[in-house]
Each structure stands twice: as C-alpha cells, then as structure tokens.
Symmetry: C3
Subunit: 503 residues, 3 copies
C-alpha cells in the first residue's frame, strides 16, 4: 500500500540571495505566425476591437499577466521579412508569401501598430532584425526608423506615417535561430558571427543606448550546441549584451514523471550556456559579462501532427495551437522555478508565445477569449515573483525517470519582495500519488504567516480548458501554515503551488 | 594499298537496357547572347515575324527538332542579370550594359516573352537564377512571379503584366558556371555551396514541386574539377535534383581523327561526375540519387578568334557564330551516342545553343533561316531516339590518336521504341577512309527489317552549309539490311548513320 | 658648450635615378567629414562662393598647390555611403545618419558636384566605392554612371542630371580601410580579398581603362599588418594596379627629436609593403608589378581629444581640425622626402586631407581662408618636385631617439627637372640646435648655381598659423651657394629647405 505522504525540508534565508529579479524574465512573444497577430491581438471585425483593431478582451488578459516585454515580429518569420512591408499606408502594403510558416502575410500589422499595441498592453518590445535574407543596411535603416527622433530620411518617414515620437525600442535580437537548418538564410556559426558583429557595430553607431541579443542555439539538442555559442560569441562579444536560448518541452511518449522532470533539462542548458559565455569572456580577457535571454520556452508538441497536414498559403491559419493539459501547466511552473533559480544570469525570458500560438491565451475568431492551463503558473509567478530571488536549501526525496536520475519531488523557487515585505514560495510536487509535506525553516522571516496558499491541482493530468469550459483553474484553499519559524507546506499530489507570507 | 572495308560486331538485346530515355536529353539553350534572341528567335521587323515578334521560320525549325526543354536566359549572362528589367511594359524596361558578353541589352525580351515563345515552340523552360550578383531574395521573388497563381505581390505583378496564369517553370538552374573565373560574381566551391543551399531552401518553400540543378564544373578541364562537385554537392545535396556538366569540343589543331574521338572525353567526364555524386551520396548516408544535366555541350571554336576582336557595347552583335563543318556534325552524332549510353543518369542535356550562337539553326537578320551541319544528327536522334536506350555489346577495331588510345572506329547507341515497336541503331564510322561493316546480332528482335537507313556523309570534312547552299545533308540510301537475326550494317567512311528497323 | 655647426656630405649624380616621379604623389583628399566639404570647398552662402557654391578663395589655394588628384568621397564615410543619395535634384536627396563620423549628411554635394569642383581645381578624382555595406552591383552601377558615355540606364541617368559628358574617373579605390574594426561593414582579409576581386572584375568589364587600388592596412600598427596585404593581394592581384597605405604621425609625448624621426616609420612601412607585393608576385608567377598608393598620410593627433567629446548628429561640425605647428611642417617635409625616395614604387599619395580636416588649408565659415604650417613644404615639393627623383649618396651625423636609432640629421630628396634643366634639393635639418653644413658634390651638373634657397624655420617648434596671424612662413634668404662642382648647403637648425639650381 502506498504511503500517503512524503516529506521534504527547506531552509529559506533572506541573506542567501540569487539575485535581484529582472522583471523581463516574465516576457512573452508575438510572432507573425498562425493566429497570434491576426485573430489574436488584432481582429478589427471583433465586437471587442478598439479603434485600432486590437481586441480589448485579449489586451485585458495580457495586462492581467503583467507581461513586461514582448518579442516581435519573429521568430522564424523575421528571417525573410522586409520591415518596410509593414509600415506606411495599409492599402499600399504588399501581400507576401511568408516562407517560414508558408502562409499569406498581408502586412496589416507592422512595426508601428505593434508598438501601439505594446503601449496599450503596458509592455516593452523586444525587436528582431532579419539576418536571414538581409544584413547591415536593413537593420540600420529600421533602427533609424524606430529610434531616431527626426530630421533624417527614415526617422522622417516614420513621422510621415503618423508616429511623431520615436518608439525607442531598447532591446534587439540579432536575427532568430540562425543555427537552424529550417531557417531561411540560415548561417554557419562563422557566417553568423561575422554578420551579427558587423550589423551590431552599425546599429550601436546609430543608437548606442540599445541592448543586443546574440543568437544562441535553437535548442540544446542541436548538433552544433554549444560550439555555436562559443564561435558566435567570439565574434559578437564586444557588442552583444545577451545570448539567446530557445527550448520547447514535449511529452510525445506520454510519460508524465519523465515529462515533469524536463525542467532539469532547462537547468542544465542554462548552466552550459553560462559556462560557454564565461569561457569566451576569459578567452577575450574581457571585463564584460554576457547575460542570458531565454527568449523562447514552453511546452510544444500537441499541434505538431495537425500542423504538418496544414494547407499552405492561408491567411492566419490555426497553426501551433497546442491545447494545454494540466500536466503541461505543472511543468510550466517548474520551468519558471528554473528561470528564477538562474535569475543572476537569466535577465530576460519569453514564454512562447502569448496568444493562440502555443500560448496561455486562446481566442475564437469573432468569439471568446479564454485562459489555457499554463496561464495560471505564468500569471502568479509574473505578478508575485518580483523582487529578490532567494537561494533555498532543499532536501527532497527523489525519483528516477526514463531520461533523468535523482529528480527531486519538490521543485521550488523563493522570492522576497522587499517593497511589500512579502515572502513568496513557489513549489511543485512532482509526485503523482502522494502529498508532499515540506518543513521550511524561515528563521530570518520572523513573524511571517501564510496569507494565501494557491494550489493548481487536478485529478486528470490531461484535463484542458476550452472556450466553453474551464476544467483547470487554481484555488486558494491550500493548507500550508506557519508554526513559529517553520512554514509547514502541504503540497497535494502533482500540484503547483504559491504560498505567500507576510508579517 | 588501303583495305576498303573494316569489320565490327554487335549484339543488341531487348532485355539489356540502359534506361528509359528522358526526352529532356534533347534539350537546347537560348541565352541573351549575340543574335540568339534578337535576330534569332525574335525579330519583329522580319517578314516572318508573328504578332509577338517571333520569327515563324525559326519556330518551324525548332518544332522540327522536337526540342523538349530550352535553358534560359543564361549562361554567363544570368550572373549579372536583374530579372525585373525584363518584365512589365517594354517602354519602361532599362537598357543595360551586359557584362558577360559586353553588349547592350535593351530587355525587349524577358521572362514572359520567352515563356510565350516556348509555348509556341512546344517546349519547356529550364530557368536560371542569378547567383552572381544576387541571392535568395531575387530568386524567391522571381519564382513567386513565375509560379505562384496569384494573390501576392509578385504573382499579382505578373498578372498585371498580362500573364494571368503562372508559367509553372519546373526546372531551375542554381546559377551558371559559378566556378568560372570569368563569371561575374564567381564563387569558391564553399561560397557557392552555401549560397546555393540557402537559395534552394527558400525556393522549395515557395514551390516544392520544382526541380533544381546544382552548378557543376564549367568543364572537365577546370583545375577545381571534380573537387568543385564534391564540395558543392556536400552543401546542396538535400535540395538539388541534378548537377550540371558543361563542355565544348574543339579542333584547333585540325586533327580530325583526334577530334572525332572527343566523345570519349564526354564519356569520361560523365563517369567522373556520377562517381562524385555517389561518393557524396554515401558520405551523407542519403537514399537520394543526384542525376546529371549536361546542360551545355557542343563543338565551339570556329568563332573564337573573331569574337576576341569584337567591339564592345553593340546590340545583338554576331557573337559565337560558329559555322559548322561536316566533321563537326559527325562528332555531334557521337556526343549524342554518349548521352544515350548514360541515359540512366543523364536526364537532361542542352545542345548549346539553338539559334545563331554556336547553333544548329542560323538566320540572316531580315533574311533566311537555314540548317547547319550539326542540325541533322541532333534532329534524327531527338525525333527517333525516344524510348528505351539499350546496352549493345560492341566489338570494333580501334585506333590511337594524339590524345586518345583505343578509340573504336564504331561508335553507336541503340534505342528501342516500345510504342512504335521500332529498333533504332545510331552509328558513327570514325574511319576516314574505309567503310565499316557491322554484323549486328538482333536475335531478340525477330522479324525486324530495315525500313530506313539515313546516312550523313561527305567527301570534304570541312564542308559547311550557308544561307545560299546546303552542302551537307543526309540521304536515306544507306545499304544496311537484315538477314535472319542479323543486321548487316554498312557504314560509309567517316559517316553518321541512323538505321531504323521494324517488323 | 654646444657646437654651432655639424657637417654632412652628399653626392648627386644625374645618372643615379630613382624614377620618373608620378605627379600623383602630390595628391590630396576630400572626405565627407567635418568641414572638408561643407564650409570647406563648398559654402554657397560665402561671399567668395561661385555660382555652384564653391569657395573661390579655397579653390585658389588648391590651385596654388597644383594638386594633381583628390581622393573622394571617403575614407571611412564611404563604407556606408549610397552614391545614389548624392546625385539628381538636390531637393530630392535624402538626409542620412553618417555612421563613420556620426554626423548628419544632407547630400548637397555628391559625385557630380565634386567632379565639377575637381575640374575647376584642375585636379583628377580618385573615386572610392563602398565595400562596407555594398558590393558588385552598386560599384558597377556607379562606374556606368560616371564613365559610360550614354545609351544605358545609369549613363542616361547621369545625362538627365545635367552631365552630358562622362566624368571618366580613371582611378578607383576598392573600399577604404576594410581591415579596421571601426569600419562599417569591415572585412577579414579573406572576405575583403574575395569581394574586392569579384567587384574589380565586374568594374573592369564595365570600363577596362580604369586603374584600381586594393585596400592595404589602415596603418603599419594594425595587428593584421602585413598578413592583410599578403592575403588580400593574393586575391586581387589580377585586377589591382595599386595597394593603398595609410599612416598618421603623432607627437602625443611631446618629444620633438623622436617625432621628427617618424619619416623613418614611413620608409620602413613602404619597404615592407613593396616586399609583400613582390612576394605575392613571385607566388603567382606574375609579370605584373603592383605599385603603391600612399593615399592617406599626415600628422594627426592635435584634435583627437576634442573630437572624442563632440556631440553626434551635427551637420559639418569642426571635426579633426588639427592646428599644425612648425615642427609638424618639418616632419611633413621629411615625409615628402620619403615618398620621393620611393617614387619608383609609390605612384600615388594623398596628404589627408585638403581643407579643414587635418589639412593644409583652413577656413572660417563665412570668413577667411588661410595656410597652415604644413602648407609650405607641401606646396614647394608639389610645385618644384616634378621630373626625375635622383638617388643621392648621403653621409650625415646621426642621433638616437626614443623609438629610433641612427636617425640622420640630414634628410633629403633630390629632383632633376629635365624640361626646365633645373636641379632641386629638398633638405631637412633635424638638429634642434645646430646649423647643418652640407657639402654636396654635383659634378654632373656642371655650371649649375643656386637660384633660390627657400627656408622654413622658426624658433618656436609649437608656432602655428591662424586666421589672424601667420607665424610660420618660409623665406628665400637661404645662404646655400655653389663653388665649382660643389653645392654648399647651409641648413639652419630644425629647418626645412628647398635649394633650386640652374645653369
């Protein structure tokens, strides 16, 4: 007969910090892909559309998530994109074959519209330049268009398009996944390093205040990882501020314990990239440290089979519309723990993506908007996970799965919000049958008591939310409580939890 | 005193096949060069011009040849060509310095006109993209322009130019002779491999139904042959369907026996390219086989000295206007044997070129059209050489020449046309003085008899045809005949022959 | 107590020649940089401006210098320059962010205006193409625009811009300082070699009469010198006629004897480049010799600190406005000796630059024009240093300085002008305290006497000229004289001298 409880121990100390958390680790991503833009954030015919065509119901959920930064316009799409197609009078914008996703792009949304939407959503924009089919010239012109005040050809062009003030985008991706053989205009590490270096140089001459993201590997599974990082950073080090990481997590084999352990992959990936950055730092005798932008991460596999059957050359077809299960949400919670644990080096991260396309927010064209299961851990971590990431001591029982050994049942991250004097413990119980009891020594937080314990749990790992029915949603009836200097965390079987404490 | 006869033996068996013959091995080539286009296929002022300006007298001869595919628009010319110059209203088309041949190109014929001409000629088009001065972007735009039905910028541009239906060009050359130091924007093998791979990738995203030809060496004499093939195919293998071969044959030293043996060069070249393709196939553990497109071949040397004196910057000057001799025609016959012998791997070939420029068809501006000597072997092989290439056993006396050893006097190829139940023996006698008697065992073709024996012979190896006088032309009075299961072939000294047999 | 005199010996013989002097070693440079163009040669609002806006007071001084060739439009600026921006109706020309110098370029002067100015100044133009952000296509179009008579798109475009006759620019730089990490679109040696070779090939197809300058190192201090020269010339050898050298000389440490010896650096640099050229010549078994174009040289360091504080994005700000001292002029004299000593291989050289920007000629906007100290040695050498450079035997006392050993106090170059039957001895005395007496055996110039001895001397090494006051200027009261076959040169302490002799 199975034990009903397993036990773990933690120590949380205010002085054992990982880092101040950069809020941009709660970023997201809108690519011109499927229904992310058209039918997602933008649907002029929708009853909820504002005067610019943006769905206000979608905007409300984005604002609820407090997304600090959104990557745009791609993704793979950017590698064959001409930014000029998406600016100026809408009736003059060309309709293009979009080669990355093999759809029709009519360019009714472009740089300026997205800047406007981001403004409404209260978020910053992480722009990307095309280093697939283009290079220095297109990049310097776009940057002049978006960031130069006026008095020059491209800045005046922007003004003539109705945007008197520069958008002042501060963060720019030097292309997207240039190591990927699927990428239009893909590059070898040497080719990318040279092109990205020269383009970055010209961009920082146009606007030295920007920050640049050098393309890292498209996933840790790439055969060129991590040599790609070493070779490319050797070129781009002088001008790069960040290196990107992308990874998607799958459960094709329907092996939940193994799936829930995949955040260990993310952890290992991050550590390897940090090591590679610092190796190049040493090699270059540099005083500058490159930080990490984990600017594509999520669960992605549900829609793949359907997408492979999709007819090409449709406008905004339903591509990559993963319907997320409860177990996906539990893993997403663990992935967020992992980002927080590395918040000393991971300064940006983007859940890919935001609406409809492998996204926490789903819409029906002309219809409803709703929250997928993964919305919830993203929401709570983004809203309450601000301040200082602490470095807890954790002792947990462990298990082995197909791909992983010594997987702790307890996965956790801890944040101290000095401003609110609030301690927040995010915790996942990976055990599929037993409740996890955690005795957490919070000696340095004298007098703190549990003010809320939010639990995301479900008897069915495959439960999903739909437009009609919310089967997966959190409750705040968690039973954790304090007893003197100890927090007694009660984490139901296979659950994600947030326990907030204050004096 | 010389013997009057020499003897050879052959066995032809229905079951010993080389391959089904791809009709496209009888392709040709029209480049924007000299008077191939202007004054060749197109001459609006000519009395024979149709409403589009195409010479109908030329068209008739092209149709007579049953040319299945014509390469266009280059050749060297394509490496500095902007396809946009050749579309849209003719009065708006720019006049350019054509750098490959140093002429003036006024762009009155372009992609659409050529598609129209090809349609009238009943031939397909083998298009080429510019990988000299351009890359992915120009290629994907052109392909969208020619092959996408409509609803996008470039497909709608084509429709606005009066071509509602897409041309649906199926075969595309990834640049031309990019290994040649004379090529504008030439490439190293590594550079070409990378660019061709990335361009091919984008093109197959636009239209996955197309077939692509990866550039092979400009000739087997190039110092980079065959390493060029190995290096470039290592890059392009995934997207390439064919590799190109180009070779021109000369008789500068006026050594006819040596000249007539030059088809052995072609044979050796083809074998080496096959080996190289299959080496890369093994190296890549690929299941795909790359076939060969011998898309430039002919005799070319008569006009070289004159061309070197040509004044630059003329419109359609008489460049590369080789006047072909009888011996040239005999070699062309052997070159066609060689292509047929390799028809299991050579799936396309283009006699370079079709009209005026090293061509079987010549014209006078405003005047006549006529057939050069080489027209005849090309005509008969193209028209009657359809079906299955057989693999005959041949025993022939041999000779040595300056560059070759063991040259068989008898050079032959055999085709069985199942549809017509017709056996066709193409045969060359390389002996300059003696008749060649061939005893050919045709045991598997019971009851077949000679229905026609066409002979191309002439006492003067240097005899040529002109507008005024046809000195070289075939007759069908050959004396070959069957006797039970044996074909007694009688091949006059230095002659090319076609012997057709039916029940 | 210091000796008042030191003694040196020379022998000058008509038959011991270095070379016929190419007058283009007295070239200069106008870059779109600071006030070189706007406020320098061009200032339509100035009272001295002619109908085209060119300052005639500036033109007068340029003509006085007899500058044979002027490099244009850059310099670093050319590496992100679109030549099309600077042609056509002035009101349609775009205003650009100029990235090399971070200024605003409104393109009111461009190729045609400069050609017109050069014509007025009686000088040729050494054009440069952009190999930073552009390549073959922009180069061939520009060359067609400037040099093709008409009847093609770009030549007719020039004619439509009001320039019926081609400019026929004969000398073209294949980019500028492409080895420099500061260069927009900088290149590795391999990248540059390939791009320059392919671009040169296309350019010589457009106009075979042009001469091309392959980019050498930005200075002999570059870590890639001289491997850059070896690698790039290995590519460009076939089409290059010259290789460029750039070097600026500084006196940051205020060590005059060391500073005055810096012409030895130039000498060593030239020798190393000659060796590298000839190594590649041998490697390529070539019969062609590459000559040298020392197309940027001067003293430059006075303005650096101020320039680093300059606000970006100004129109024609006062950048690189070195105010030259007397000692700078003395070194400039020695640099000119060095060029003359190598006139067998140095066929072009450009004092960088001509007006306002590290220049011999200074202006006030709306105000005066005046001669800097360095104007004088440049003027006399340019005007009188034409003919045949002789190779004198020199015996001089020497000194050691911080960076140099065995520095001869006497630095000299000798020119024989056959046409005028005039012998000109240019001579520098590097000694800061003592007069230098030179006994010069001129046995082959029987009956020659001193007709002028010009001296540039000053008690204050730091004396400068300003708009208001000319503190440094030459006088012709030098005391040199002949005695039979001997010229007794009297060179005052720390002076530059020109001694002219005729029969």
């Amino acid at each position: 007969m199975a034990k009903e409880f397993i036990n773990a121990k933690m120590i949380v100390d205010k002085d054992f910090k990982v880092s101040e958390i950069d809020p941009r680790i709660y970023g997201s991503f809108i690519e011109h892909l499927g229904r992310a833009v058209y039918g997602g954030i933008f649907e002029p015919e929708h009853p909820e559309a504002d005067e610019s065509g943006f769905r206000q119901d979608v905007l409300e959920l984005v604002k609820e998530l407090q997304v600090p930064i959104v990557r745009y316009p791609g993704g793979n799409m950017v590698s064959a994109y001409n930014w000029e197609d998406g600016v100026g009078p809408k009736e003059d914008r060309p309709t293009r074959l979009e080669l990355a996703w093999r759809t029709i792009e009519n360019n009714q949304v472009g740089t300026n519209e997205f800047a406007e939407w981001a403004n409404k959503a209260g978020t910053d924009v992480m722009m990307a330049i095309n280093l697939g089919t283009r290079g220095i010239d297109a990049a310097r012109n776009l940057l002049e268009y978006t960031n130069h005040p006026g008095g020059t050809y491209y800045s005046d062009l922007r003004r003539s398009h109705g945007y008197e003030q520069p958008h002042n985008f501060k963060t720019w991706c030097l292309g997207n996944e240039m190591d990927g053989p699927w990428q239009v205009g893909g590059k070898t590490a040497e080719e990318y390093g040279r092109l990205a270096y020269e383009t970055a140089k010209a961009m920082k001459l146009v606007d030295p205040s920007i920050e640049l993201v050098s393309c890292g590997s498209s996933s840790s599974d790439m055969p060129t990882f991590p040599q790609w990082e070493a070779t490319t950073l050797d070129h781009t080090y002088e001008f790069a501020d960040y290196v990107s990481l992308h990874q998607y997590y799958t459960n094709y084999e329907d092996d939940t314990p193994n799936f829930l352990a995949r955040s260990m992959e993310m952890d290992h990936f991050i550590k390897t990239v940090i090591s590679t950055c610092d190796y190049i730092k040493a090699k270059k005798r540099s005083k500058k440290t490159i930080n990490l932008s984990f600017d594509e991460w999520n669960v992605w596999f549900h829609s793949t089979a359907d997408d492979n059957k999709m007819e090409p050359w449709q406008i905004a077809p339903p591509q990559l519309e993963d319907v997320y299960t409860f177990e996906d949400a539990v893993l997403v919670g663990s992935l967020l723990h992992t980002l927080l644990k590395h918040s000393d080096r991971v300064k940006m991260a983007c859940m890919a993506q935001l609406v409809n396309v492998i996204a926490p927010i789903m819409t029906d064209n002309g219809g409803k908007v709703w929250k997928q299961t993964i919305f919830y851990p993203y929401y709570y971590t983004s809203v309450y996970g601000r301040g200082i990431a602490l470095d807890p001591v954790v002792e947990s029982p462990k298990y082995d799965s197909k791909d992983f050994t010594d997987v702790p049942y307890l996965d956790t991250s801890v944040v101290y919000n000095e401003e609110k004097d609030e301690l927040v413990v995010f915790a996942t119980n990976r055990h599929m049958e037993n409740t996890l009891k955690v005795d957490c020594d919070i000696r340095s937080f004298e007098g703190f008591r549990v003010i809320e314990h939010v639990v995301l749990e479900n008897d069915d790992p495959k439960a999903v939310n739909t437009a009609e029915q919310t089967n997966v949603a959190p409750h705040n009836k968690g039973e954790s409580h304090t007893d003197g200097g100890t927090l007694h965390g009660i984490l139901p079987k296979m659950s994600w939890n947030m326990i907030r404490l204050r004096k």
